[in-house]
């Protein structure tokens, strides 16, 4: 869009192209990423003489001597250059998203001048979004906008993304921003399917005031994504890009390589058959002949055995096999660590081809993209293929713009194991350091060790899982949008827009059957091994889910524009209808054994005997809205704006399904209003803004206002049916949640636009929240949704962009930008005096995520060890262990309190270096993998006292009613008993870590071959970049576990990581861009 506007500006300015000049100047204009910039206005200062750069960023203009050229382009800082006697002027423009004259796409696709906006928003242009060649828009936006938090919650082949603006406000409903693509609201998972190269701009409407026109969807802010519609400056352009990135595990929790397998019991196992002890020829575990202690148990998954010492007598894993031989491997840690070596180098290859052209009236844009991914987990792979077509057509007073896109996402990843259903990373962490996972005896499916005669009695071979448990997903996306525009009169414009987004999701998963040998099932090592638990045969299983969703939306918008003297008025009236159907079918046949699935390794549940389990679910919701939006501008420096919307929703019962939402804001460009501020060196522009909005959110799921009948417990009994009222009450009196938001902001340009500043403060109160409360059973129900609970969310957002150095002679430029966000939330009230509401959490954790009155939202609660008033740990003198506390306590908030990002671009001649770093802090997270690694004894953490008894650091004991510093009570065990059973091991606080980090997210170095190719006429651009992602992560030394940005879910109960997220990775690669 900016190119179009630039050209437009040129046409407006230059009614007459100047004549009678002295000499000709030509040059090349580039952007912050070093790419050529077409459509940049080049004007002789103080005259109407102007031109615009062509598609290669080149211009030529005849100018008077000693004149000054002014380079302007939407989205870029204005540059003024004295020509002197030069004939060639190359200029690099820095990005400027804060330009007041910029036109941005706001709510419902309404285009407004940046200067008139009275609320916080930030526009991210395509070049900025794509500077590090991201695969997803989420990746491209990360760190670029103050107040926007984007978490990639995992790093698998197709990771989940969570997008939150201005923190959390809804206790029991989604806090993620609304995503709107070309006027159509889409589901948040669509973000991962859209090709970032197709995006012209993303305008981030940060708060409810900016988003108020979205009515019930406004409270969480909006990402308004506008896609490209074509190049608007003449000749067709073909652009090809290849970006290839390699991915490697950057770090794993430090694993110990010192101690062998064993459960660390201090005496012989009670169940050990005496005949095996301690005959060296038949011995399958090592018992110390002097102490009687079993010190090496070669089939254990835990690693609390003796130190590795290379003893050839212990050079085996697992017990004796059926033929009395052993699985031989040296009794020492293998290097490189086999658990790390298990992960391979993954890659992501993007190939992107676009074809575009046209002019300002008719244009087209076609793009094809293929992203192929190989994961760091062996055999994991993914692929995204998309095609996108868009354009603009003009017929006199009519114009139409349209886009159609189709994308398919595919992933094939490892699933849960056959025994406990856990992920491969967890099974990997249950392997000792001397287990040769890369040995063909273990990783070759034809090996007898592959599943049977298995050396680890309790945990499956991770390689078995890689080959035999797969989850295959396929998601198809289709979007289509058509907007028709009719400029009826010069004061009246009519727009009709309709669009749809369709998603179809398929999930196929299967786990193969497992057959053990009778020998293994007989539990020959008396280990209660998996084979004996499972039996000879473990059934396979297969499942299939299909879900499909559509969003259909249409808008009719009339825009009235009139100028009355100094007053400029724009009134927009509109109507919107949105429909969202969703359907889900699920079928599954677990416990399908070989006789039920009657064709081996054929995982289609049709080929079975017995009954299928399944379910069916459909829903449709509709929203009908009428809205109005009035902007009054006075002398182009004072703008009053208000919007109003009335929504009718099918989610709530008739009679109270209609709601009003409104917002109002004021924008004052004081540098234009106050004469004395003009034409001075310090402040080049300045704007003050205030906004107030009253919006809402219907947060209940469809069909939640009418009581329903469930199938009765145990029913049907054969042919006997029975139903009963569901125990949770569907409250027909629910109303939308209400969010009142106030914000003030200041935007300033200093030193002739060298420094740009955008700062704001917001305060929002979300009240009458919809959440489930427990109600008296005597109501007939045990829970009900009510409107109750107040949450305040407030914060500062500051963005600064500065051109630190610019030397157009040496073509050196250094741009530095940064943003800082502070968000503070506070739960002020819940329900009927209740102080604590459980949001949820990962099963198995001693803790969960809560809303607590008087605390930020959400907070983690867990159990601590008991402490004296000074905070020292109280130990039990009987065993030297800490004592477990008995109540859940708040340990910290899970959403970051502070976020900061630094972006910098240094360009010199044809080189350009872009770097981005991020900081988050003020929050905590639960590293469940820490707890689990202590259980397995594979973490280095558990060796900190050499597995010897020790005095618990900084501890006290109770002596005659007083707490006395402990310097004499050693733990009775410094081995497994302490690390797996003590209160330390059980207390959640032992694994609560400070979630702060600094990440160097992106580094890219680009070289533009424009000098090389300037004589090749068919080649219009060639750039080459080397790119690195997540190269460095700094975090508190206690957090040895994982990336605190990860999460086990994309729902509100953030702050919890477990072993289902892979270890963090680092990516590096290169990108080649060619333009024809």
């Amino acid at each position: 869009m900016r190119r179009f506007l630039a050209l437009f500006a040129v046409l407006m300015l230059s009614g007459v192209l100047a004549s009678a000049q002295d000499h000709s100047v030509k040059g090349h204009v580039t952007g912050p990423d070093g790419n050529s910039l077409p459509g940049i206005t080049v004007q002789v200062k103080g005259s109407n003489t102007a031109t615009a750069t062509n598609s290669n960023g080149q211009f030529e203009l005849t100018v008077p001597a000693n004149s000054t050229l002014v380079f302007t382009g939407v989205g870029f800082s204005e540059e003024s250059l004295k020509i002197g006697n030069r004939n060639v002027i190359d200029v690099s423009l820095s990005a400027d998203t804060k330009r007041l004259n910029e036109v941005v796409v706001t709510a419902l696709g309404i285009k407004r001048q940046a200067r008139s906006l009275g609320y916080g928003s930030q526009n991210v242009a395509s070049t900025e979004l794509n500077v590090s060649k991201p695969v997803t828009i989420g990746e491209g936006l990360t760190g670029k906008v103050a107040g926007l938090q984007i978490n990639t919650v995992d790093n698998g082949v197709d990771p989940g993304i969570r997008v939150v603006l201005r923190g959390y406000r809804h206790l029991n409903a989604d806090n993620q921003a609304l995503i709107v693509v070309d006027g159509i609201a889409v589901r948040s998972n669509f973000l991962s399917s859209l090709n970032p190269n197709d995006v012209a701009s993303v305008n981030v409407l940060k708060g409810a005031s900016a988003a108020a026109l979205y009515g019930v969807d406004a409270t969480n802010g909006v990402l308004v994504i506008t896609t490209k519609k074509g190049a608007e400056h003449g000749k067709p352009v073909i652009e090809f890009n290849n970006t290839t990135m390699l991915e490697r595990i950057s770090y794993m929790p430090p694993l110990q390589e010192q101690f062998s397998m064993g459960s660390g019991e201090t005496g012989p196992y009670a169940w050990a058959p005496p005949s095996f002890v301690p005959d060296q020829t038949k011995q399958y575990y090592y018992q110390n002949p002097y102490t009687g202690q079993i010190q090496y148990v070669p089939y254990e998954n835990q690693n609390y055995g003796m130190e590795f010492n290379g003893d050839p007598n212990l050079g085996y894993i697992g017990g004796p096999l059926a033929d009395s031989t052993f699985f031989k491997t040296p009794f020492k840690a293998i290097t490189p660590d086999p658990r790390r070596a298990f992960f391979q180098t993954g890659y992501r290859i993007q190939n992107n081809l676009t074809y575009s052209g046209g002019d300002s009236k008719n244009s087209y844009f076609l793009s094809l993209q293929d992203v192929s991914t190989k994961g760091v987990v062996p055999h994991d792979q993914g692929r995204r293929t998309s095609i996108y077509l868009a354009g603009v057509k003009t017929f006199g007073k009519f114009s139409a713009n349209y886009n159609l896109s189709y994308a398919q996402r595919y992933s094939n990843t490892v699933g849960g194991d056959y025994f406990q259903g856990t992920g491969v990373y967890w099974n990997l962490l249950n392997q000792g350091a001397n287990v040769p996972l890369e040995d063909p005896r273990l990783n070759n499916p034809s090996s007898t060790f592959f599943n049977d005669n298995y050396y680890n009695a309790y945990y499956p071979n991770p390689w078995w899982q890689i080959y035999n448990s797969r989850v295959i997903t396929k998601t198809n996306y289709f979007t289509g949008v058509l907007a028709l525009n009719f400029q009826a009169f010069n004061w009246l414009n009519l727009t009709y827009r309709a669009g749809t987004q369709y998603t179809s999701f398929d999930n196929n998963n299967y786990t193969a059957a497992v057959n053990f040998s009778p020998y293994q099932v007989s539990d020959p090592w008396a280990a209660s091994n998996t084979a004996s638990t499972v039996g000879l045969h473990k059934n396979g299983s297969a499942g299939y889910t299909n879900a499909n969703a559509r969003n259909i939306s249409q808008d009719i918008i009339a825009t009235l524009h009139k100028t009355f003297g100094d007053l400029d008025a724009t009134l927009i009236l509109g109507n919107n209808i949105t429909e969202k159907p969703y359907g889900n079918d699920y079928s599954s046949q677990t416990n399908v054994n070989s006789s039920q699935l009657f064709i081996d390794n054929f995982y289609n549940t049709d080929y079975r005997i017995g009954e299928l389990t399944g379910s069916h679910y459909v829903e449709t919701t509709r929203l009908v809205s009428g809205y109005g939006d009035l902007t009054l501008g006075y002398k182009n420096f004072l703008f009053a704006h208000g919007s109003f919307r009335r929504d009718y929703s099918s989610l709530l019962p008739k009679g109270h399904n209609a709601y009003n939402f409104w917002s109002t804001d004021l924008s004052w460009v004081f540098t234009d209003a106050i004469k004395s501020l003009q034409n001075q060196d310090l402040i080049s522009y300045g704007k003050l803004r205030v906004a107030y909005s009253n919006t809402g959110d219907i947060t209940i799921a469809p069909y939640n206002v009418q009581n329903v009948f469930d199938v009765g417990a145990g029913f049907p009994y054969g042919s006997q049916a029975g139903v009963g009222l569901d125990g949770s009450y569907r409250n027909p009196n629910l109303v939308p949640e209400k969010t009142v938001e106030k914000e003030v902001g200041l935007e300033m340009g200093l030193f002739h636009g060298r420094i740009n500043l955008d700062a704001d403060y917001y305060y929002s109160l979300t009240s009458g929240q919809t959440f489930p409360v427990s109600v008296s059973g005597t109501t007939g129900y045990t829970s009900a949704f009510v409107n109750s609970g107040d949450v305040v969310s407030q914060g500062f957002e500051i963005g600064i962009n500065a051109t630190v150095i610019q030397n157009n002679v040496s073509r050196f430029k250094w741009d530095l930008g940064g943003n800082f966000t502070w968000n503070g939330s506070n739960v002020q009230d819940l329900y009927q005096g209740s102080k604590d509401f459980n949001i949820g959490g990962y099963t198995g954790l001693t803790g969960s995520v809560h809303a607590v009155v008087g605390q930020p939202f959400p907070v983690l609660e867990t159990v601590d060890v008991q402490r004296d008033p000074q905070g020292k740990v109280i130990i039990d003198p009987a065993n030297g262990f800490p004592i477990l506390g008995d109540t859940l306590q708040v340990v910290g908030q899970v959403s970051p309190k502070y976020m900061a990002n630094i972006n910098t671009t240094i360009s010199w001649k044809n080189f350009s270096l872009n770097m981005q770093a991020s900081y988050q802090g003020g929050n905590v997270f639960y590293a469940y993998v820490g707890s689990q690694l202590n259980f397995t004894g594979t973490s280095k953490f558990t060796t900190q006292n050499g597995r010897q008894n020790f005095i618990y650091p900084n501890s006290v004991y109770l002596d005659n009613g007083k707490y006395v510093d402990n310097n004499k009570y050693y733990t009775v065990d410094g081995n497994a008993n302490f690390w797996t059973n003590s209160a330390f091991a059980q207390a959640g606080t032992s694994y609560i870590e400070n979630a702060a980090f600094w990440k160097l997210r992106n580094v890219s170095l680009t070289y533009d071959f424009k000098d090389v190719i300037q004589n090749i006429h068919w080649l219009h651009g060639l750039t080459f970049s080397v790119i690195g992602k997540n190269l460095i992560m700094l975090r508190p030394s206690q957090n040895v576990w994982t990336d605190p940005e990860f999460s086990y879910t994309t729902a509100n109960d953030q702050g919890i990581t477990n072993y289902d997220q892979l270890p963090p990775t680092r990516q590096y690669g290169a990108s080649l861009n060619i333009k024809f």
Binding site: Y402, V624, Y703, F709, Y717, L725, G777, T779, G780, V786
Partner: protein
Amino acid sequence: MKRLLYINLIFATLLFSTGCKKGFLTDLAVNPNQPSQAPASLILPPILTGYATNIYFSSATMGLWMGYNSISGGYSVTNNTMTYYVSAATPSNWDGIFGILKNCAYIESNSASDPNGAYSEAVAKILKAYGYQIIVDGYGTAPYSEAFQGSANFFPKYDDGQSIYDSSIVQLDNAINLITNAPATVTNLGNNDIMFGGDMTLWAQFANTLKLRFIIRQSNIISASDAQAEIAKTASIGYLTEDALINPGYLNTAGKQNPYWTSYGVDPGGSLYSDGYNYLRGGGAAVDFFKSKNDPRLFFAYAPDNSDPSTSDFSKVDPVFGDYDGVYYGDRDAASAQGTKGTVGIGHGVMPGFNASVPLMTAAESYFLQAEAAFRGWTSGDAQSLYESGITASFEYLYTAGGDNVADADADAATYIAANAGTVSIQNIIVQKWAALADMNPFEAWTEYRRTGYPNATILPLTKFPGNSRAIPTKLMYPTSEQNTNQDNYKAAVAKGNDPQSTKVFWMK
């Protein structure tokens, strides 16, 4: 390019033209995934199975207090479990019963549009009275007039027990009226009536028997004339002469077995629910009562040592009384409690199999109620004969459920009555009722004990647990959920007494 444009145009037009129909929003209020309305005939079966499950939940609490059961030595339990301890967290079925009652209330208020109309409304009223009697007898007071109002009242006030009783008796009268005066057009409940198979005469008799139980429960406080008048109103209906048995068609599938069997019996795969079966052992009081009178019902109510419902050991072919050795409540030192000598478990008359029916009320109980009414002079019946019929009915129930026949039961009952029944008295009636309810409905036995004080300490001694200072509880405590969710009304109710060892339910002396 143009074609795509046209496709989009057509699409947009379609969208617009379908956009403004009537019911555009309200049509979508209909939940396509779960029904918001259901016929009474389908709501009734889960109400009955719900009550069937509820009867058994008292085995491990009141079953201990009433001497029916004890806890096997293989399980360590807290002192409280051995000493009549009741707390707000003691497992109770308050929420479960209110969940059932809500469905009764739904049927009651939606019967006008129901093809089963009068019948379903009558049955709902009867089953609501049945459930409320359990609530009042257990807790004393409870929300009644303000219950089941959803968001109109999330905090229902408590009604006193007397008023709930009075209203329930009126509702039972109304139910009987609805049945006897039902229009000819009303549809029979048929097989969806999983208790009486649609026989409304039996429902009327059940209602009348239940009503008799409501009246007799007030024997300590009601005047003879009031009792007579109330009984006379519906005397013509008669009382249950057969067992009211619930059976939805229990299956040998997970979650679909007889509720006792699924806790204490055998899983669908054929393995013993060993933690359930082995947890409870035969109570000394009950076992010794049967043994002392050579009562062969012992062989059906209890199973001998080392029996296993998953094998044929469950019932002995030729049992002898010496095979049975009960453990007294709280006696942790007894050799049998230690698992060293023959103890007994739940018998095959009480727990015959996965598909066994569950008695909501037995004919024996009906006869004992009638006997008591006659003995008190509230009816003109023959108290002695009704009393003996009760004993015979108890034999018949256990024998037939346990796989023996009625003839054997009648013969053994005759022998037993001749030797042990004696002359009818309140004490004899209640002691025989206690024996007849052995492990089948400990809650009812406990309630009758609270009313009459029988069986006395000779048969049913207090717990043998050393240092016990508690008596047999007089009421249950309101559950923690009430405390948390209905605070003000809970406090008002508690202010009138909530001590499980001293607060009396209104009908207690």
